[in-house]
């Protein structure tokens, strides 16, 4: 019963992920067996130096890059046991994605671009735009609805990308250095928005970042070096971590009392 409850709380389970790239006929290992679990509602920051394999790991979790060994369970489903089309559907249904550069369909307006995940899911543009209208309001960009996305600033584009990632009510968000191309202020604003959405809607977020200034926004920090996890800690500064700590201590007190 306890195990089942624990299973239900887990959003992502990364199990024994190894990844080698073949360069010039040589196998170069990038990831050396990664294992971790992310609970529902967590805001996890995946940090580490450039080239340590963060983005590769993120792509494996997102279902774009096949692992050499190991697999990823999302909502209990073994993501790499299915076909490419299944993973495409699964991504569309369950995972919101914010890339470092939020690429757009140039010929479509901002609101139409936000509606794209719904269109990919087989809905009409009209249906997609209805949902998109609410989300563009959530990220505070309603007045830019009918502009072309590339007319907007980097920070504004990332807000739109956030709205696009939330369109189909995903179980969790994956963000690959979304603040990488933004100035500090725009970066902070986006992080606040992400934190706010994570807390308000209990959405699990896994985000890659370089920026140590942004560590305060996550509830947990996984640090990677050379394709290995070197630390996995709860963020003592974050509200969620404090709350989790309190719950843990309450539970242990109760356990002591019952003894």
């Amino acid at each position: 019963m306890l195990d089942l409850q624990k299973e239900n709380e887990i959003a992502i389970k990364v199990s024994g992920i190894k990844k080698n790239f073949t360069v010039g006929g040589r196998e170069i290992p990038i990831l050396y067996g990664i294992d971790f679990e992310i609970k529902k509602g967590e805001f996890v920051l995946l940090v580490g130096p450039s080239g340590c394999g963060k983005s590769t790991l993120l792509h494996i979790i997102y279902g774009l890059e096949a692992p050499t060994e190991g697999t990823v369970y999302i909502g209990g489903e073994d993501e790499w046991a299915f076909s490419k089309n299944w993973r495409a559907n699964f991504r569309n249904d369950n995972i919101g994605f914010i890339p470092q550069q939020p690429f757009w369909i140039k010929s479509l307006t901002v609101i139409e671009n936000i509606a794209i995940p719904a269109v990919i899911a087989g809905k009409t543009f009209h249906e997609g735009i209805k949902i998109a209208a609410k989300l563009i309001e959530l990220v505070g960009m309603s007045e830019w609805s009918n502009h072309r996305p590339y007319d907007l600033s980097g920070g504004q584009q990332q807000r739109i990308a956030l709205a696009r990632s939330l369109l189909l009510d995903p179980k969790f968000l994956i963000a690959d250095e979304p603040t990488g191309n933004l100035d500090q202020k725009a970066g902070e604003q986006l992080m606040e928005l992400l934190q706010n959405i994570s807390q308000r809607f209990q959405i699990t977020i896994l985000m890659v970042t370089h920026n140590t200034e942004q560590y305060k926004f996550g509830t947990r920090i996984i640090q990677m070096v050379d394709g290995k996890i070197i630390s996995d800690t709860l963020n003592k500064h974050s509200y969620q971590a404090i709350k989790d700590d309190l719950n843990l201590s309450e539970n242990s007190n109760e356990a002591k009392k019952s003894k």
């Binding site: 792509h59 997102y62 774009l64 890059e65 046991a81 299915f82 076909s83 089309n85 299944w86 495409a88 559907n89 991504r91 569309n92 249904d93 994605f97 890339p99 470092q100 550069q101 690429f103 757009w104 369909i105 140039k106 010929s107 479509l108 794209i116 995940p117 269109v119 990919i120 899911a121 087989g122 809905k123 009409t124 543009f125 696009r164 690959d176 990488g180």
Partner: protein, 428 residues
Amino acid sequence: MKIVQLFQKFSPRLFKKKEEVKHMRMSSVLLIGYRNIAINRTRSLLTIGGVSIGIGVITFLISLGFGVQAMVIRDVTKNNPTDIIDVSNENLENFVVLNNETIGKIKNIPGVKSVEVSADVGGKFINGEAQTDAILYGVTPGYVTLSNMNIEGISAGDFTASAGIVVTPRLAAMLGFEKPQDALGREVEYTAVVTKDIVDPNAENPAEQTSKKVKIVGIISDQSKTDAVYAYTMLETLKTQYNITAGQRGKILIGNIEKIDLVRAQVEQLGLVTESVVDTVNDINSFFSIVRIVLIVFGTIIMSISAMGMMNTLSVSLLQRTKEVGILKALGAKRTDIFKMFIFEAILISFSGGAIGLLGGYGVAKGLNAIVNLVSKRYGISAADFVLVPNIFIIAIVTFIVVLGISTGLFPARRASKIHALEALRYE
């Protein structure tokens, strides 16, 4: 069973539950294609322009080709319906005349509805001091109907009941009449040179080659025969005057058009020569089919250039949209969705170009027709319609447009559908 288990162990993906794959709606695919064409206005206009010029030139040339062919055939068959065979005894090796015996044999051939005869009598027309040599055709009443003669001054029915003659305007002029109409009701002399072959061999009175008085009752008013010099009278009249009962030529009306070749073969076996407007029509058709082949070669060259332009546009479009394709795939679009996006964009371009070209080419041809008719009207030439776009051509062009769209879009669409999502997510 063991093999299956082994396979299951190593390839669990193949044995998972049935997957439901969601695809983008056709309306969304078309909208994205349309928007992409609209946003790259200049490039799209140039490409669509290239296709429409190609299709337009082909439509223009083909509609003129078919139109002129139809006009010529219409003109040729106007007075010569295809169900009539002209027969004559021009085959000198086997001299046969259309006497009662031959006519009887022809009438017995299955498919023959009626046989009408014309006897050619050479001779001299004299009107006072004016005189000229001319042929007088003695025809049966049915011959007048089958020849679709245009006679001025008398109806065809009255002519067949009369003993008079109808002459061509040129003959009237040669007989000294200022205007052809002046000849109407006037009597002229005619001296015939009658060959024995067409005279009734059992006649009591042998033919006399003396001059006879004949009355001009009508003028042949056929534009194409204004320069000809001849006259018509009824065979019955020639019988009375010269005992002529047989003819050298005739017209056979066919009841069943499908049997025309069979009838011709049997008539030719009798020693007669046959001619049909179908022969002329066939000659015209074979000439125009050569013209069409030339046009098709010409059109293929033009369309190849347009197709290359289209492929170039689509390839450039693909290069510019690699990242769009990547993000669409990353967000869950399938290969077939991307393939459809590109192929329908190509079809949209070729369809718009094709539609503009088809209407434009036809419009220009019709405009040219109208101008030519306007000019010819001033010179007193009757108007003619020489532009025709047959349904089969429209079907062929529409098929061609779709094939053009698919074939030029296929390569870029396949390339686009194979783009890996990660290509878009790689940082620059």
